[in-house]
Amino acid sequence: MPNPRKPEKETITICAYCGVGCGFKAETIGNEIVRMTPWKEGKANHGHSCIKGRFAYDYWCHPDRIKTPMIRDSIDEPWQEVSWDEAFTHAASELKRIQGKYGRSSVGGVSSSRCTNEEIFLTTKLVRAVFGNNNIDNCARICHSPTQFGLSATVGAGAASQHFDSILQADVIMVVGANPTEGHPVFGSMMKRRIRQGAKLIVIDPRRTETVDSPHCRADVHLALRPGTNVAILNSIAHVIVRENRHDEEFIKSRCEWQEFEHWAELVGSEEYSPDNIGPIAGVDPEDIRRAARMYSSGPNSTIYYGLGVTEHSQGSTGVMCLGNLGLACGMFGREGVGVNPLRGQGNVQGGSCLGSWPHVFSGYRFVTDDATRESFEADWGVELDSEPGLRLPNMFDAALTGHFKGMYIMGEDPVQSDPNQNHIIAAFREMECVIVHDLFLNETSKYAHVFLPGSSSLEKDGTFTGAERRIGRVRQVVEPLAGYQDWEVTVKLMNAMGYDVEYAHAGEVLEELARLTPAYSGASFELLDRVGSAQWPVNTAAPEGTEVLHTEQFPRANGLGTFMLTGFVPTRERVSEQFPLLLTTGRILTQYNVGTQTRRTANSQWHPEDVLEMTFDDMQMRGLSNGDSVTITSRFGSTQLKVVESVRVNPGVIYTTFHHAETKANVVTSDLSDWATNCPEYKVTAVEVAKVISPDAQHAEASVKRSAPRERDVEEVR
């Protein structure tokens, strides 16, 4: 037929991929999705899309989809297919047996940021009300947990202060440790639109990314700092602002704790953080630091967008506090065109944060140690709850190795591929007695699992997502779940199997419960979202259709004022040395999404069939490497192989790769260091060495890489 077939039905839903949360129309003929088109009324995307949401949806019906539950007694045995009932009974009895033998805190769970708010909430309920402990975490642990910590400390809310459109009113845009053109493309396009209209751009990133330089859009200042020096640079920028009197005294006096500002100004104003001192340490021209500081503080509207290049460091939370401090110091909060905004990566990671999928807080960011909050949950759920914080995800693995943690329910996550220090994690899983993986496909983690519960994609369920701009929107079911259940139904049945009696007629009832227990979501309901499309939290009686810009009058801290945290620069313990003289940093690419669970099963792999290592020409030449060679990359923790390509995007001494393919095993190499406050892994700084792989078939057998000849380079330390 020469003419294209015409879709019969449209269902408005939200993209399954990144935190922009583009509104899409899923167009179907019968039970087949024939295309996804961007929804013009989607408030996050206004009719635009990227390759992933627009085209890469076929993974949902990929032959690898598991449709039947499976169990096995040991990970060395093959999987046995069983019925749903058998799977639930087996999982429940195993978990209870383990708790009987090793104690109540020997099991835990992790929720998925690609599942709905309703599903995340039910997972926290499973762990808290049914397991009886607080060993619940979410993947934000390994990406934006420092955002949660750092922004809560300074401005009282660990979330983006603005909505995306706000950037259209910005005069200066500062992007720190993020690459929106690749990681949040639709937002990146909006940002470029504003820059073409004349806004200035400052980028702080070790690489010359597409965000730094693309058609009609070039950064006015690019600080290509050495990985691990974020806090030093941000303090140095603050130094210039404070010393040159560029801070907004009126704003600080009226909206912030003035005394804390004075302490902070004294810290950053000290000689230690002058650009002349910090520039050489960070590998940046001191004059550029001054230009960035003057540009940002002049505004009039300056906005900050940041990503994992800030958070995934041993000073991740400190880095976020620096950004909060800068925003407060220059009065860049509480109106359009300003703010400090984390670019949260996953479709519903903000939801996971809001709904208490953390070991130390209930939903609404209220501490588990707080009696009043805990009692309100106990009243609603009908059971006594644990009053002490539980284990964070990395600590669950540590505890497995000492025999204290034996069972785990993992929904929609693949820690073996995505978490750092892979050998450590695999060893931990091997010690566990009941690992339950609830996912769409078999993955690296399921190799160590005892129960596999087939999951459902976001095309197969009803619920809500909360995007990076705090936007709560409706995920609507487009096709029937392949395995027969929506994910939230599976969690409920597991709860039932363990003896906790609860049922919900549909996902909307779960939203009602979570709205009751989460102040910022109290006004959210399917009815509201059907009527207005989407709403940014807080959505409550004061703001029945949501809140676009935060902090307009008060900061949500006890005294309503913002505060300044003292952010001394503490260099990472990860140092380069003679043995490991290069710094590896990681990132993302447009066409693949995180560990590639979905995108590798679509045609997107044609663009990025493998992860490659980017190195400068000089670094390659020193090691006898040519473009396209296979190389081994080694750190203190392990080694893996990659293909190397020459790049002008990184500085000498810094190398870069992505982590989308399991074969890459990038995380075998990453370190065990993490953020002081949240244990967010320091993915962005690993000391490594690279050497050519000598293939046994090589026709011209090259002698080993020229490492025997002593090199002129000095041993460097990251200060």
Binding site: N3, H46, H48
Partner: protein, 241 residues
């Protein structure tokens, strides 16, 4: 400010981006309508439910004025201005229909039709087909002349293809790649009859800087750029008679 994104509506194409601005009142076909300053006459006509037929205009992109279909008559102005590039003015009086306008539009559409594969006209549901119906055209007076039916289909991208035979060179794809996505991968190569859509330096879509965002596919009014998933058995080139 931002009405150009926030003012967009599903199911309505205003033709040019909504604006923020002081209200301006004008009359379209006798209907009084008030729109923000900076809006086009085309947008005002759509608001007044007197929408003008169009091809190269769409409300996600700035106006271009190349197709010459959206012509209107404005009291006190000579000629037949394009409603997409004409801004509203207070008290303006616009006519969207007249015999002369109908003739002009039919003329333009016949020219488009003479270079469009005829076998694809029945059952087509693209914007181009709808506009043909709106204007009341089913055939053209020209015999078989020079055309673009021989240009190769670019199906290098796994998700969408480009069939130049159906391209009406409205430039919506080029503009979408520039204004909406910001990648600037597309351009119009050549002039006059030789004009054609090209990716980067005349490479295939896959080899070019295209990031496969689909903005061009979304913008294309004639299904020249179209999702491969809408052709379950594979894409068959139209046979031109």
């Amino acid at each position: 400010m931002w009405n150009e994104v926030r003012g967009l509506r599903d199911g309505i194409d205003y033709g040019t981006p909504p604006r923020d601005g002081k209200p301006v009142t004008l009359t379209v076909d006798g209907v009084e309508v008030t729109v923000p300053e900076g809006s086009s006459v085309m947008l005002a006509a759509t608001e007044a439910e007197r929408a003008v037929p169009k091809l190269c205009a769409t409300d996600m992109l700035e106006s271009f004025g190349s197709c010459r279909v959206c012509l209107v008559e404005i009291e006190g102005q000579r000629g037949y201005p394009a409603s997409c590039t004409t801004l509203v003015a207070p008290g303006m009086v616009v006519q969207t229909q007249s015999d002369r306008l109908a003739t002009l539009r039919k003329g333009v559409m016949e020219l488009y039709l003479s270079d469009f594969p005829e076998s694809e006209i029945p059952d087509g549901w693209s914007e181009f087909h709808r506009t043909l119906e709106e204007i009341g055209i089913t055939g053209h007076r020209y015999g078989k002349g020079q055309n673009h039916f021989g240009l190769p289909v670019d199906d290098s991208n796994p998700y969408f293809l480009f069939d130049p035979a159906k391209c009406i060179v409205c430039s919506r794809c080029v503009r979408a790649c520039a204004e909406v996505q910001g990648t600037f991968a597309l351009t119009i190569e050549g002039r006059g009859f030789e004009s054609k859509v090209a990716a980067s330096q005349g490479e295939s879509f896959m080899e070019s800087e295209c990031v496969s965002c689909g903005a061009c596919v979304q913008a294309c009014p004639s299904h020249a750029l179209v999702e491969k998933s809408l052709f379950p058995g594979g894409y068959e080139r139209a046979k031109s008679t």
